[in-house]
């Protein structure tokens, strides 16, 4: 009987541990967005590169909206594994968001970038700078690619966004080779902005 007890306890511990891990990661991703929003407010108030938490080695770069009324996400600078756990992040080798060329933003498919599975061609994507300026993008293509065999070409005459996340969205493990890439192209500034 004690064997059985041990077995049951072991199962419960393992189960709780796994669920706890998952919960921790999800909570971290959620909580980080709140802290980042604070840093964002600071930056809006004039601070440059405000650190969201004291030991952070990154700062909020832009605010990203995928779809029309979806919750906005703060994007961090530098797509290291550590940053991606907190927020979507801009891959530092690529063009600056809004600049000419392809700007690559990666995010975890199981936290922030789960919104990408609903993205459709012609959907609106917008990004906002800390100074309040906004840029509008339009989704031009969706693709599944194999990261072992291809890379993202960065040359483009227009400002482009490449939103990258892992594929499939309901995959079980991390580290798979497939990526889901949403390409968006900048649309000319809306009239309202020019008027303002």
């Amino acid at each position: 009987m004690s064997l059985k007890k041990m077995f049951v306890t072991g199962l419960i511990v393992a189960g709780c541990w796994q669920l706890g891990q998952a919960g921790y990661l999800a909570a971290k991703a959620e909580l980080a967005q709140h802290l980042l929003n604070q840093a964002w407010t600071e930056m809006k108030a004039g601070a440059t590169a405000a650190k969201p938490w004291p030991w952070a080695d990154t700062y909020p770069l832009i605010k990203l909206r995928v779809g029309v009324d979806d919750r906005p996400m703060i994007v961090l600078a530098g797509a290291s594994g550590r940053n991606l756990a907190f927020a979507p992040a801009h891959v530092s080798g690529s063009a600056q968001p809004g600049g000419d060329g392809v700007s690559v933003i990666g995010g975890h498919r199981d936290t922030h970038f789960d919104v990408l599975q609903d993205a459709q061609v012609n959907d609106a994507v917008s990004l906002e700078y800390p100074d309040g300026q906004r840029l509008e993008y339009r989704v031009v293509s969706l693709a599944v690619v194999d990261s072992r065999e291809s890379r993202i070409a960065l040359d483009s005459k227009r400002p482009m966004l490449a939103l990258v996340t892992c594929y499939p969205f309901d995959g079980l493990s991390s580290g798979g080779p497939l990526r889901y890439v949403v390409m968006a192209e900048e649309t000319p500034a809306p009239v309202s902005r020019i008027v303002m």
Binding site: A22, V91, F113, R151, P177
Partner: protein, 814 residues
Amino acid sequence: MTYCRQADLRQAQRGGYIGTDSGGNRTVVSAERNTRNWDKSGNFELLFSALFACVLIWGSLMLVPVVHAQAEQSNPLNTLGSGSFMVTQAGGGEGDRRDVDGRYRELPRLTADFSLQVSGMVVQAVVTQVFVNDSDQWIEGKYVFPLPSDSAVNGLTIRIGERVIKGQIKEKNTARKMFVKARQEGKKASLIEQQRPNLFVNRVTNIAPGERIEVVLEYLQTLRYDAGEFSLRIPMTITPRYIPGNRIVEQSSFEMSGAPVATIEGKGWAFNTDQVRDASEITPPQRSVAELEAFNRRAELNTVGIEPAKLANVATVNIVLTPGFEVESLQSSFHAITFKKKAGASLKQYVVTTKKPTVAMNRDFVLRWRPVATQAPVAAFFNENLANESGDDEYHGLLMVMPPQQINQQQLSARELVLVIDTSGSMAGTSMEQAKQALLLALERLTTTDYFNVIEFNSRAHKLFDQSVIASDNNVAVARRYVNGLDANGGTEMRGALEAALVSSVDDEASYSRVRQVVFITDGSVGNEESLFAYIVKHVQSNRLFTVAIGSAPNGYFMKKAAQFGRGVYTSIGSVQEVNSAMSALFEKIEKPLLTDVNVTFHNGGVTEFYPVRIPDLYAEEPLLLYVKLAEPSDTVTVSGEYEGQYWQQHVVPSWTAEPPFRSTPEAKGYEGVATLWARKKIEYLMDEAVRQGNRDQFRDDIVALGMHYSIMSRYTSFVAIDQTPSRPEYESLKRRAVANSMSAGSKQSIPSQAVNSIAYPRTALGINGQILLGVLSLFLALVVLCLKQDRHVLRVKYGKTQGSRNTCREAGR
């Protein structure tokens, strides 16, 4: 919720059966038992459910790849959109031309043989690069290879079968013209050019199908003597260099004014940029270690008992060592070696080879040896006399003098330690582990009076603290956590890191009084070395810069010169095991007093010319190496300086008649190669001055003259060897192919692809779904087993109450 149907029940009655359907949410419990064998069957149940649990967990783990496989099958790539619009195929260039059985098609294979003679402080090396053309076409191979950064390449021969063609030293453009002409005429030729002092390019043209060409290079080098240990490093491959800057549109670098456009493009994976103008020359294709191993394994299987020369990117190493003293330990850092004493020689001589007949060219070969304590040299002199044009002897010498050993325990002045760590993509893998360990060790050495800061850099630099902070327990703990969380990713914008490290952001009295020591931990894989040196020269001020070379194939040139311009020293770490000893040695050195204001006096007439002209401050156990040319032999040399506030001097009496243990030609007077090394040192001095004065080609003529006179390679002089008779028929075309280098051992960097402005995808999954699934499955299973226990209890009670009722059907499950 589940229920029992009659059929289920009947089945259950027979087997005592617990089951779930594929959804895992239906459980049937049967209780066709009598009380006597209850306990036994309980154990069976437990066993069965345990087995089942194992199967379930195992199954769910197996599910993961299945899901992936399905995803790959049901979603053929790029079906969802115009994938080719933004995606470029990685590779597809020279490095990837393999046919089905894994042979490299159209690529020349390369093997190398390193044969070294070490006597005194001088190394004479003969490197034989063997190019084999496995294809059925005429090809020209281009091989980018590393040599020690202070090597003086002074000989080239090519061997084709029985024929031997001697190479000549020529001014760079002249050599190129000769080579291009030979190529067009179908003659076999080899051209070796220096891209960096430690990076060379060898082009071998008109290799016939199936042919084998040997290119034999000779170089000279001085040993490193540091902390009581002699060492020798043979670089085998290069870590892909980071190329900063903007692409430039230019005429091919091979184009010559007036000459027909007979170009040899660089064919590297990078474009030339405004910061690295020869980027396409120094970025050869590279192959993963695993891929090469697979190739070589197959080659060995195919050629049992024939010849071993079917392999690619392997080297043999053979060293004859005449140390001149009793050796206490002789070892190689990363390779298994065997050595035996050579019999019959008057001096102690060792023959060193690797244990395996060949070694993979994926990491530097390092040999280290130590004299027995009583024989550790404190000064040494090696001479060579050469007749100049007018027939007079010119006396060349290599002088080695050790600085004084520490006498009193010195009170360390307040210091500020700035620790810089490279977290660029090329550090991914074992390099990053080594760097982190090194940094953590450095943090451990801080005392509570020290100030410190940590800077990481990749595509940009990031300071942990805005300005240096006192090394309190709390601050160090913060730094430790920061270091542990670092990972390698992105570019190598080293200039920003140097700026953050060298330029202090605070100006107060206290920060001025502190000695600022910068420890720079990197693999140095950058292509813009010179502009970085210029930056260091300009901004080093009173700071001291110490470089720590990390990885299997670091850029030794960068490490050494950056430390020199930064008035510090360098050290290298090639494996995690070395971290402790190397970092301790470095810190012991930088915590001890220096010999400053070093001055050397020669007591003789005539012209004396010695290098380095600016004698650096000497760190503990770091010898002064002086290369000198005299019009007449000197009796005494006096080395003086200031040590711990006191005047210090030492006299050395050089012997101008010393004879080396062996010599290749009877006419040689003294240690062969010393004169050449002097010239090489002079070239280095001129190049350094050019960096200091910000005019790259300022001493071009002087360097060309030196190179031609001493017949050594430099930035402006190249070796070229040309066969006299054409061999390629005019109707045969020539294909140009680059020889691939191995990726360095332990590297997780992705292999650079062809020259397309592109980046790899980030990793973007946490695997939360999998964790949730496993968690839920485990808990569910626990519940099932728990329910069983209750069932049994309930059943027992029921049995007691309703004797005779043999069948019970209960709800179970969720």
